[in-house]
């Protein structure tokens, strides 16, 4: 059984069937790139995996453990536990503006480990210290150690997105998802974010990256999925999909995106 198994995901918004029986799998440490034209359902797929949308049918499992099955209902608490298997980096960063960079990274873990729990004062202090050290380390990983005390509004878009990546890593997700992490950035800032993702790959992070950066997908991904109209039109290694696409739709899409460069 693969590390991530996604089976028969179907999702409609009203009459609009956005995902039609989407299934795929990936192994631990792999990077999966999802490409496809606008409206093909890429974001919706990531949102289903992260429990932001509820698929109408289908299921998925990580490491052999079923996390979601459309036939079952889950309590909020169950959902919260399960979704921690995944992390999500948004196109628009969605940092918390009132908190420092450091607090953005540490907040969720602090709440998870201390909120509503009866802890002795020094126990609590120890936990906070440990989380802070860990958060600073993560900021160093994304090259922002010296920005820990700044507020997000004083950072460039590229820096904000790197903070968002550190924030997502803070909860040690098994699989980190990116939804067009560079689409909201000026072209000269995309490089720094893509570099961080490349570095994460070198530490064997399992990642799903929805992207319009074809060169990046080709260079970094172990596996590429091309989505069209809510189905996986083609999947394979980057060389297969980019070098020798079988589907005419894939071909047309790739030609068009090359024109745009």
């Amino acid at each position: 059984m693969a590390f991530l198994e996604v089976n028969g995901i179907q999702k409609s918004f009203g009459k609009n069937e956005v995902l039609k029986n989407v299934g795929f799998s990936m192994e631990k440490g792999e990077v999966l790139a999802i490409i496809g034209s606008s409206g093909s359902g890429k974001t919706t797929l990531l949102r289903c995996l992260n429990f932001l949308e509820r698929a109408d049918s289908g299921s998925f499992s990580v490491d052999g453990e079923e996390l979601f099955n459309a036939e079952k209902t889950y309590t909020d608490k169950e959902k919260r536990e399960k979704r921690l298997r995944f992390g999500l980096v948004f196109q628009q960063f969605n940092l918390f503006p009132q908190y420092t960079v450091l607090k953005n990274v540490s907040l969720a873990r602090e709440l998870l480990e201390t909120d509503g729990k009866k802890l002795a004062k020094d126990e609590k202090r120890r936990i906070f210290k440990e989380i802070e050290d860990n958060s600073r380390q993560l900021l160093a990983t994304v090259g922002l150690a010296e920005k820990a005390g700044d507020y997000p509004c004083n950072l460039s878009g590229g820096q904000q997105q790197r903070v968002a990546i550190a924030r997502a890593l803070a909860l040690s997700p098994d699989i980190l998802c990116f939804d067009e992490p560079t689409s909201a950035l000026d072209p000269e800032l995309t490089g720094e974010v893509l570099r961080v993702i490349r570095e994460l790959k070198s530490t064997d992070r399992t990642m799903i990256v929805v992207t319009h950066e074809m060169n990046f997908a080709r260079g970094v991904a172990d596996k590429v999925i091309f989505m069209a109209n809510g189905v996986i039109e083609e999947e394979g290694t980057p060389d297969e999909v980019f070098g020798n696409p079988k589907s005419p739709r894939t071909k047309a899409f790739l030609e068009k995106s090359l024109e745009n460069i």
Binding site: L52, R80, G87, L88, Q92, N94, A108, L111, C153
Partner: protein, 215 residues
């Protein structure tokens, strides 16, 4: 009547003004939030009931509401009416809660969906998302409109005299009627200006404090 005597008598009225102001503020701020939750409820009957109530309160003059709270129970049910000051406080608290609730609602609705979703994917509970992420951003956004409303409240307190509560204007009015002098009426203007001036300074400070970030 000497200046000092007038001042002392007006100060008495001003205390009542301050009382109405303070109690209305302290009670309406939390009650308004409760009304906001009602008007944003996912249960349609609650939502529409609360919205209709807010519409009625905001759509009628506060003066009328004071009169109804004071005379209504007696005329309709034959009950004893509330003490005058209590009736004023009830009307003010209800009225201002409704105004505040609309400001809160505007503030809450202005927070981008992405903030909630970021909290959700980080495993936060609904309560944590509201109190740790959304609330502070809402407060920052609503301080300016709240400030306006609070300054309005200072002046609205004078409506209490419609049921003969001796607040500042009524206190001056009594002096004018008894002593046939007009200047106390102008004098109380200074009380209002001073008080609202102080509040403005205070509110500006709060606003500045919250301006350490922009979104």
């Amino acid at each position: 009547m000497s200046f000092l005597e007038v001042t002392a008598q007006l100060a008495n009225g001003f205390l009542t003004t301050l009382l109405i102001f303070g109690i209305t503020l302290v009670c309406s701020l939390p009650l308004g939030l409760l009304i906001t939750f009602g008007s944003m409820s996912k249960i349609p009957p609650i939502k529409w009931l609360v919205k209709t109530f807010v519409w009625i309160i905001r759509g009628t003059p506060l003066m009328l509401q004071i009169i109804i709270v004071f005379y209504g129970p007696g005329l309709i049910f034959g009950w004893d009416s509330l003490p005058r000051l209590a009736a004023v406080l009830v009307a003010f608290v209800i009225n201002y809660s409704c105004y505040f609730s609309e400001i809160y609602r505007g503030g809450i609705e202005s927070i981008p969906k992405g903030q909630y979703e970021a909290g959700q994917v980080l495993g936060m509970t609904k309560k944590q998302i509201f109190f740790k992420i959304v609330l502070f951003q809402v407060i920052k956004r609503i301080v300016p409109p709240m400030g306006n409303e609070i300054i309005t409240l200072v002046k609205d307190t004078s409506l209490a005299r419609v049921i003969m509560v001796v607040e500042l204007v009524q206190a001056a009015q009594q002096i004018v009627a008894q002593k046939a002098i007009i200047w106390p009426m102008f004098y109380i203007g200074a009380f209002y200006l001073l008080f609202s001036g102080l509040l403005t300074i205070l509110l500006n400070r709060v606003e500045k404090k919250l301006n350490y970030y922009h979104s």
